[in-house]
Symmetry: C2
Subunit: 411 residues, 2 copies
């Protein structure tokens, strides 16, 4: 007998038929004697409908009331899911986030979980119930309804799994698990049996859509082992957990391509203390998210200058260009060069740490494919390069073949 937390997203509970499917899956686990806590999202489309109503009243609805409004979406799903289980003669009780003891701070629409008091969940489980909890929501210490923002239901599930000390947390979604790379781009991509938190985090930050970083970070912090798997079939998914020695045998866990980045270069920026700080303060104040930053050594001994490059999201490029056009004399750079026909190609793996030749092997692979590298950025377990957009998929395929399909150590 195990204590399992299962999370079903909006597409898994998208209509009454899918809710019935979810109930049948829960029954399988219940019948083999497991205790089950189910975390559900709003049915697909419900949240957008509610936002649409709010926007007819205010372009930017007040955040406290937005939380009161949006939390009805998950509350609807918990009641319907409980009924679906009742129709199978399974005892089940629904709980809102507040009733489940999920306490958050008061930052409406993007609240942080402060703590979970799972007394009610345990009592209901001990009485033989499946417990259905509304994801994405909680309450402040003084009783206001809050929501957790993007990826909030995953976070609810991970946090509840930590609080109830679950044996396993299953994140049901519409993909089979975590892949070595995007199978739509590289047909040879394969599903991973397991992946380390840090690898998952790097993949999440690279735009792999499986999960938000905050949920993975929470799982890592509290040591919650979770499985990403499909609600549409019975295939095992990918287990996400703390890295093991065995994992280091694989140098590169996966490869990823992000086509949403654009490159900005400030040419001949005066190289004296504080200039870079001021540039990135301007960007932060304009709420522009920066990803890669590259600065090389400077040239010129009298008034040394350097080229400073960084990447922004493509949708923010016009805004960034306008910002720096107005700052040219203030900062004193010579020229602004931008390029949106680029992509960021990355490889990720905790095994990289022990293998100094991985970067060299990646650059060689790209060179053999005739692909020029425009920017390079590395972390302990990731190497990212900016390359031209029109050869990006070719580059991904080449790197995936070299590191994953041929499973070379890269050294």
């Amino acid at each position: 007998m195990a204590l399992i937390v299962q999370k079903y997203g909006g597409s898994s509970v998208g209509d009454i038929e899918r809710i019935k499917n979810v109930a049948n899956r829960i029954r399988e686990y219940h019948d083999r004697g497991d205790q089950i806590v189910v975390v559900v999202s709003a049915m697909r489309g419900v949240t957008d409908h509610l936002i649409g109503l709010a926007n007819q009243l205010m372009p930017i609805p007040t955040e406290r009331e937005m939380d009161v409004l949006l939390s009805t979406g998950e509350q609807t799903t918990i009641a319907l899911t409980a009924m679906a289980l009742h129709s199978l003669n399974l005892p089940a009780v629904s709980l809102t986030g507040a009733q489940a003891g999920i306490q958050t701070d008061g930052v409406h629409t993007k609240a942080k979980i402060q703590n979970i008091t799972p007394t009610q969940i345990h009592d209901l489980l001990d009485a033989g119930n499946v417990v259905i909890v509304a994801g994405f929501q909680g309450r402040t210490p003084d009783g206001n309804i809050t929501t957790l923002g993007r990826g909030g239901s995953d976070l609810s599930a991970i946090a509840i799994a930590a609080a109830v000390k679950a044996d396993l947390c299953q994140i049901y979604t519409d993909v089979d698990g975590v892949y070595t790379t995007d199978p739509r781009v590289v047909p040879n991509a394969r599903k991973l049996e397991e992946i380390a938190y840090d690898e998952m985090l790097e993949l999440a930050s690279l735009g792999a859509k499986v999960m938000q970083s905050r949920s993975v970070e929470y799982a890592k912090k509290f040591g919650v082992v979770f499985e990403v798997r499909s609600s549409l079939n019975a295939n095992p998914g990918t287990i996400v957990k703390e890295e093991t020695t065995a994992m280091e045998g694989v140098v590169v866990r996966g490869a990823s391509l992000d086509k949403n980045q654009a490159k900005v270069t400030l040419v001949k920026v005066p190289d004296h203390p504080g200039v870079a700080a001021r540039i990135f303060r301007f960007l932060a104040d304009a709420a522009l998210n920066i990803d890669m930053i590259v600065q090389n050594i400077s040239h010129g001994s009298d008034s040394p200058s350097t080229d400073l490059s960084f990447t922004v999201e493509k949708v923010d490029l016009a805004k960034a260009r306008k910002l720096f056009d107005g700052l040219k004399s203030e900062i004193g750079f010579q020229e602004l060069v931008t390029d949106e026909d680029v992509a960021k190609l990355s490889i990720v793996g905790v095994g990289m740490r022990g293998h100094s030749g991985v970067a060299a092997r990646m650059f060689e692979t790209l060179a053999e494919a005739g692909i020029n590298i425009e920017m390079i950025s590395t972390s302990e377990i990731k190497i990212s390069v900016i390359i031209a957009l029109d050869v990006a998929e070719k580059g991904l395929a080449a790197v995936h073949k070299a590191f994953v399909e041929e499973n070379t150590t890269g050294a």
Copy 2:
């Protein structure tokens, strides 16, 4: 400056435009310095949609989960109403039934209010807010969501008005107030300026659709003065309050017609102790609601017998007939006679108490109109008669003319 509770039903908040209208009305009161608590229902159609979803899962959904599901309807409205006020730059805060301190018993889908702790409402009012409360819902002492059943939002408003000691409670609906009779049947019907609780209760029990009896009873018990008025115009409505000496000057406040009753007569029922008790126990056990009961003196000295008549709802007539067909020998009556082509005509007024001639005047009026009376039942402030369905509206018009339009004392 007054403290006012306003209740808006499902048609008054039926869509975003109507919610905006409600917000504008609230602003008028706010601008003149009143403190306002607003109680809202679910938007028209929302509750039916949710019931439809539940019924796709279970023919009779579990009641606890039905409450979790249905309470999202009012929660949606409170958030949208608060946003509508924010868009007018009015400070407003929404509260679910639980947050507003509405505590109920645990009888899901038809819970009774046990007490209200209005601390939160007072704090928010004192801070200058309009407070928007979800009608129809509350919470049990151990934190389960409950709903109050039919007419629940009216009850929420009346109970909150009692708890916060409001100066006035306004029930906004789609009619202008309480009329002397149904204006669709009698064009000369007129809106009442005021009516006593007991008169309102008799009218409610007679099928006047304005309000459920339980809300009026609650108002009477706690002395809550309330006004029934339209959300579609600015006309004053009808004030419902404890009767005053002045009210007794009017003998008949209103007249009403109920076409949903059918007459059942058990002919020659043995007249000995306990027979009537057994008959109505059978009816109660079959969950058949009885309205009027008439039994006259008995005949025959050896084995005395009597005729026993009562009315049931027309939809229950077949059930009643089947019940008594099976009990004929057990009870020992001679014959079962039923008639569904009847209607119940009633006049109501607290002023009747001091005027013994009212019944006589009513019967004379009907006789003059050539209408035969089949059954009679009276209470302290009401006289009801059963007459043939095809002359029922004619009878109503005659009685309304005699007692209301000509405003005779009836004595």
